[in-house]
């Protein structure tokens, strides 16, 4: 296993060099795949998507097969990020979700759990108590049995155990670092995504901005303490200290972003990482370029950001302090392998130090990329 250990260290250094803008002879590969790994498997007979998402042994086999075929340096997930086993345990009690077992998809409906904007403060005072006494009875009007809760707890434990196991396998057998010690999603994100709904959130933000300030004052200390705790842990087999995810800025103008997300959460988060010599893998959904004024406050050597919609060369100009991970997915799906490699070459040469590969889209369907294009691009990135 010594080779895997050395490879893991080498990969950690490659990633550090990207974040620190140190010139490299190869370009690290970060994969942002979800179900594509499963759709690409050569297992015979091919399992269904639902089997893949709910059978942890099968998931491990698919992840191993994928790693052996493509050997990426780093992955956003080794299986799935969403625990489908809980849905199985609750059977048909989740009326706010729509389950499509054939496709392996669960959709969460836009439900207003809070009912009124002021409830966000009650939630902030004690999230677990609020969830148990107010949220769950609202979302499960027919109630839940002790057996369902017991099974759902066991499902959570099984999934957590899988994550421990697959991380150990990928670290020790394949030399691939785990992504990050902590995952930071600002609590305000959940208010929009799950508790109030996007429309209500958007209206509340304009009508009662002081509620958002109060909510953030209550929630930010715990959020930041978690990042600080991550920094106090040894780096171990991780690539980054924190995985920072920005989603709800898409509903905000720049002033709202600065007031509700940057000042309470993300600005201090990056300060903590910088102070501790740690790094963040940051995902910015939608458009990111307009956030440059805030991101210019962060010193070089802290962030590697992967993004979706913006031009990478404009991003480089606007944020010369931030390393980027980017590759336009359509080149993997609709172009020839030669064209896909030419695009990789253009990015490697044009972006210079502080660049690594990552598709600008999470890949979920078989058509999202062609195997021959992926293999050709990876070959180039490893040997240019």
């Amino acid at each position: 296993m010594e080779n895997a250990k050395e490879l893991l260290k080498k990969r950690q250094k490659m990633i550090d060099d990207v974040v620190g803008f140190v010139p490299q002879k190869t370009t690290p590969i970060l994969e942002n795949l979800f179900k594509w790994k499963f759709l690409d498997t050569e297992m015979d007979p091919k399992p269904t998507p639902w089997d893949f998402l709910t059978n942890m042994d099968l998931m491990e086999k698919v992840v191993r097969e994928h790693q052996e075929r493509y050997d990426p340096d780093l992955s956003c997930d080794w299986g799935t990020r969403n625990n489908m086993l809980i849905t199985v345990a609750l059977d048909h009690s989740q009326q706010h979700t729509v389950t499509n077992k054939e496709e392996g998809i669960i959709q969460t409906l836009d439900v207003d759990v809070f009912g009124e904007p002021e409830a966000m403060l009650e939630y902030a005072d004690d999230p677990v108590r609020y969830a148990w006494t107010k949220g769950i009875p609202k979302l499960y009007p027919e109630g839940l049995t002790f057996g369902q809760i017991q099974d759902a707890c066991s499902a959570l434990k099984t999934f957590n155990d899988y994550r421990v196991r697959i991380n150990r396998i990928m670290n020790e057998e394949y030399g691939s670092p785990s992504t990050a010690i902590s995952l930071s999603v600002a609590p305000l994100e959940n208010v929009a995504m799950y508790f109030r709904g996007l429309k209500n959130f958007s209206l509340d933000m304009r009508r009662k901005p002081e509620l958002f300030d109060e909510f953030n004052e209550k929630m930010a200390p715990g959020f930041l303490a978690n990042v600080e705790n991550g920094c106090q842990q040894e780096r171990g087999n991780y690539a980054f200290s924190d995985w920072t995810v920005l989603l709800v800025h898409n509903l905000m103008n720049n002033k709202q972003f600065e007031r509700f997300l940057w000042r309470p959460y993300y600005g201090p988060l990056y300060e903590i990482l910088a102070k501790n010599g740690r790094t963040s893998l940051t995902f910015i959904e939608g458009y990111a370029l307009r956030l440059a004024d805030c991101y210019n406050e962060v010193p070089r050597g802290v962030i590697c950001c992967y993004f979706e919609q913006d031009d990478p060369f404009e991003m480089r100009k606007a944020m010369p302090n931030i390393a980027f991970a980017y590759y336009p997915q359509p080149y993997l799906a609709y172009r020839t392998p030669e064209e896909a490699v030419d695009k990789a070459k253009e990015l490697v040469e044009g972006m210079g130090p502080g660049y690594m590969y990552c598709t600008n889209k999470m890949l979920e369907s078989r058509e999202d990329q062609k195997r021959e294009n992926v293999l050709a691009v990876y070959e180039y990135l490893r040997n240019h």
Partner: protein, 62 residues
């Protein structure tokens, strides 16, 4: 508690469930899966059982 018993979503009901649930030992409970510590809501839990119930409760309303 009986498996078919309806859970009470009150503070007392929470304690009853916490006392009754059983978490199988699997991977070492001292090992952290990546991303788990991000669940700052579970900080302060006295053991793995409490951490899992807290995580489940907050996940069920998402």
């Amino acid at each position: 508690m009986d498996r078919n018993e309806k859970v009470k979503f009150t503070e007392e009901g929470y304690q009853e469930v916490l006392n009754a649930i059983v978490i199988d030992s699997g991977a070492s409970s001292t090992e952290k899966a990546p991303g788990n510590i991000s669940s700052f809501i579970t900080q302060g839990a006295k053991d793995e059982k409490e951490a899992i119930l807290k995580e489940l409760a907050t996940n069920l309303i998402m």
